[in-house]
């Protein structure tokens, strides 16, 4: 009976942070609900193995991470093909001079995230990335850039993680350049 009460209070307290995290990582509300439901089902099944050494939310978040990884692995089983020809020519040199554009960032970037419009633009740019790249990118930053851990969890090689990060960042730079820095 005690187990049921504890679980009930967890559902009450932690559904919101878990759903928000899942919706953020997966960029999909319905998938987030499914996955958090799985988290609670797993928590119910493995409740006895929770020893109270960590906070309940930490434990639930760890389960969520594992579920996200399962989701990712199932969806993307083959090796990713990451092409850079949009950015570099056949010798590996930059295709154009856009990268030299001035972002006029001196002391300004600390305030960028306080700017509602900038956040919206950033959001759009991130969401434009294919989920195959944006899930690792988000997990990389959520897990404080522990590349080893992220690549193990998602079962991608670290080399591929570097390529995914590189490709995502090249695109983010271009997107923010086009939609923010050269507009404002």
């Amino acid at each position: 009976m005690e187990k049921n009460n504890v679980l009930k209070s967890w559902v009450e307290q932690y559904s919101e942070p878990l759903l928000k995290r899942a919706a953020y990582v997966l960029s999909d509300k319905d998938a987030a609900k499914d996955i958090v439901q799985d988290v609670f089902l797993a928590a119910f099944s493995y409740y006895e193995s929770f020893e109270g050494k960590s906070k309940p939310l930490t434990w639930l978040m760890a389960i969520l991470n594992r579920k996200v990884s399962d989701f990712y692995r199932k969806k993307y089983q083959s090796e990713p093909h990451i092409k850079l020809d949009h950015f570099f020519d056949e010798t590996g040199s930059w295709n154009n001079n856009e990268v030299l554009n001035d972002w006029d960032s001196s002391g300004k970037e600390t305030h960028l995230l306080d700017d509602h419009d900038f956040n919206a633009t950033l959001e759009d740019c991130i969401e434009e990335l294919p989920s195959r790249w944006k899930i690792p990118l988000k997990m990389y930053y959520l897990q404080e850039k522990k590349a080893q851990e992220v690549s193990q969890e998602l079962e991608i090689s670290t080399t591929n993680l570097w390529k995914i990060l590189q490709r995502s960042r090249l695109q983010l730079r271009e997107c923010l350049d086009n939609n923010w820095f050269r507009k404002s």
Partner: protein, 90 residues
Amino acid sequence: MLRKFIHLLFLPCSEATLLMEKQNAETISKKESRRLILHLKICKWCRAYQQKLKILDDILKRRCSDKKENTINSSDIQDFKNKIVERLDL
């Protein structure tokens, strides 16, 4: 043309930008680091990119530690809670 030759000889920009990711995560080897530094000395494009990489890194770091704005509304969350409680028969 000379620039392209030099870049190819030392390290093409397409690879230098990959090494920057490793450098950013502090997992770059000494050998890679030396190659990258040399490349950056002669390549103003990659120097410019590196600055922007740092800005992007800072933005992404701070953004992901921030609580995200409402992606799921409260009535959805309530429905979800009810469903789970029922499902688990709590």
